[in-house]
């Protein structure tokens, strides 16, 4: 009952908006303005075929590769920087500098240095997604409870045991926040990188349709992009609830008690 209610609350506004959109564009014959029914037809006809394999799957592979590299790199660097003052002091200025550069700006440079293949796109996604993961991991590691840290030290728990059973779990809520923030960045950089010198992918397809005046398929591509984003966010939320079950259960108990 409660679930049905929350789902209906979630879809109510989108339905109203689509209805409004439908009514507003009923008599409109401007080919540049998308219409709901035509969009659905385009979505089905353009994307529900081999194009999905040729253009959506490669995009998702790039996105997930870049994101994985960013997560692993962000956590490793974050733990190193967060738990060591000297490393923090040395790395600080460099990190601030690199972070201040918007990743898309690097695209032309990277294409010259690394080439126009997938490596450039994956690298760009990884670079953009690194910061939220890295900075949140550093914060997470630095803000571990001092009592728990003393407990861990007093029992001589060190090395990998300390990392695995104390430091990483303690920082995990923050790390997960960092990853969640990096998801939309990954999507943006994926599309942006595919709009330059690419031969396939969602970004490539959208630009291609736009340049060949196929407005319907272009809009449908934008919708596919949105759907990829939503599915990614939902999948991540499910995963987050699983690996942080102790965290959410404890918080719920504390706020209700």
């Amino acid at each position: 009952m409660n679930k049905a209610r929350s789902i209906s609350a979630m879809v109510a506004l989108p339905i109203v908006l689509v209805l409004l959109w439908w009514v507003a564009t009923l008599g409109n014959s401007n080919p540049f303005i998308p219409k709901p029914v035509a969009l659905l037809t385009d979505l089905w006809e353009t994307w529900a075929n081999s194009r999905f394999l040729e253009h959506v799957v490669p995009s998702i592979v790039r996105l997930l590769s870049g994101l994985s590299i960013a997560i692993v790199g962000g956590i490793v660097l974050g733990v190193l920087i967060g738990s060591n003052l000297t490393v923090r002091k040395i790395m600080g200025p460099i990190l601030e500098f690199v972070r201040a550069i918007p990743p898309p700006v690097l695209l032309p440079v990277l294409m010259m240095v690394i080439g126009i293949g997938d490596e450039t796109k994956v690298f760009l996604i990884a670079l953009g997604c690194l910061w939220p993961v890295l900075l949140n991991t550093v914060d997470g590691v630095r803000s571990v409870d001092p009592v728990l840290r003393d407990t861990t030290s007093s029992y001589n728990i060190g090395g990998l045991t300390r990392l695995r059973f104390f430091l990483l779990p303690a920082a995990l809520p923050r790390i997960v926040t960092g990853v969640r923030l990096s998801l939309p960045i990954a999507l943006i950089l994926m599309v942006a990188s595919e709009m330059y010198a690419a031969t396939n992918g969602l970004g490539f397809s959208i630009i291609y349709f736009q340049r060949t005046f196929q407005n319907g398929p272009m809009w449908a591509g934008v919708v596919v992009l949105g759907l990829v984003g939503i599915i990614m966010a939902l999948a991540f939320r499910w995963f987050e609830r699983r690996i942080l079950s102790w965290y959410y259960a404890q918080r719920e108990l504390e706020t209700s008690g």
Binding site: L148, D150, S154, Y155, F166, A249, Q250
Partner: protein, 281 residues
């Protein structure tokens, strides 16, 4: 008292310990000059007015913090980091347990880090949980338990580690009175059963007299030892019987008086003849 004991009997020795914290507003002297010995198997309580550097003292003894000068010697060796034969129980039970680990894994983690195999680990964990009366909840998460039970988990973890000396930093200050009495008796029984040496820090005068074989009273900051009292209550203690004994009241009275003196800034080193009015020496 302590000085008459032979050297081999001494497990812990705190020598002229001083701790000064550097702060932006200038150095703050938390502990001025502390010297005392703990014999093997002794149950000693440390009481002092709030802010008398009790926690600082424990952190230096446990090797989590280095004293500014002086030294701590455990079993003949100078303490430079957390010693292997020492366990620590904190006041903040909720923050000293790993929320992401089940009760049994919380107890087992120090053993795992010490390289003890899974079979022996299981055995020791079961034994320790049994000893603190928590054999029925090994699969729970700490935060699913009451405060008193969480502190029992922390005690079980210390017991399973099999230390020679157990340091407790106001362990029962955050639990309700009923639970507190149970936990006090639990600590006494664990101490008796395992032959540990216990150093129990508290701000509760009754608790210190009820639990300890000896009470070390600290002065207010900057801290020195104000008085060192041997508690000659019967070995077997009982919340009702012991607390209504004449000696209990006498000791309690004496410790209370010393604490009041300490709060007013009076210290043993200033006017020695007056302060050394011990009831039993």
């Amino acid at each position: 008292m302590v000085d008459t004991q032979s050297n081999s009997d001494v497990l812990l020795s705190v020598r002229s310990m001083k701790k000064v914290y550097p702060t932006p507003g200038g150095p703050v002297e938390a502990v001025r000059d502390l010297t005392f010995d703990l014999r093997r198997g002794e149950f000693a309580c440390i009481v002092g007015p709030s802010g008398s550097g009790k926690t600082t003292l424990l952190k230096c003894i446990s090797g989590l913090m280095a004293p500014t000068s002086g030294e701590v010697i455990l079993d003949g060796e100078r303490v430079a980091g957390p010693p292997r034969n020492m366990a620590l129980v904190f006041q903040e039970y909720g923050r000293s347990l790993y929320s992401w680990l089940r009760v049994e894994d919380n107890v087992a983690l120090p053993l795992r880090a010490a390289g003890i195999g899974p079979a022996e680990r299981r055995e020791r964990v079961a034994e320790a949980l049994e000893a603190v009366g928590l054999a029925h909840v090994p699969q729970s998460y700490p935060w699913q338990l009451s405060g008193g039970m969480q502190q029992r988990v922390a005690i079980a973890r210390a017991v399973a580690y099999r230390p020679e000396i157990l340091l407790m930093d106001e362990p029962f200050a955050a639990v309700d009175a009923q639970t507190r009495a149970d936990l006090e008796d639990l600590v006494r029984s664990v101490w008796k059963k395992l032959g540990l040496t216990v150093l129990f820090v508290t701000h509760d005068i009754d608790e210190s007299v009820y639990l300890g074989e000896r009470v070390i009273i600290l002065s207010s900051s900057p801290t020195v030892v104000q008085d060192d009292v041997r508690i000659d209550l019967p070995f077997e203690r009982d919340q009702l019987e012991t607390r209504s004994m004449k000696q209990f009241v006498v000791h309690r009275h004496h410790v209370y008086e010393q604490i009041q003196l300490a709060k007013r800034g009076f210290r043993a080193e200033d006017t020695r003849p007056v302060a050394v009015a011990q009831p039993s020496a």
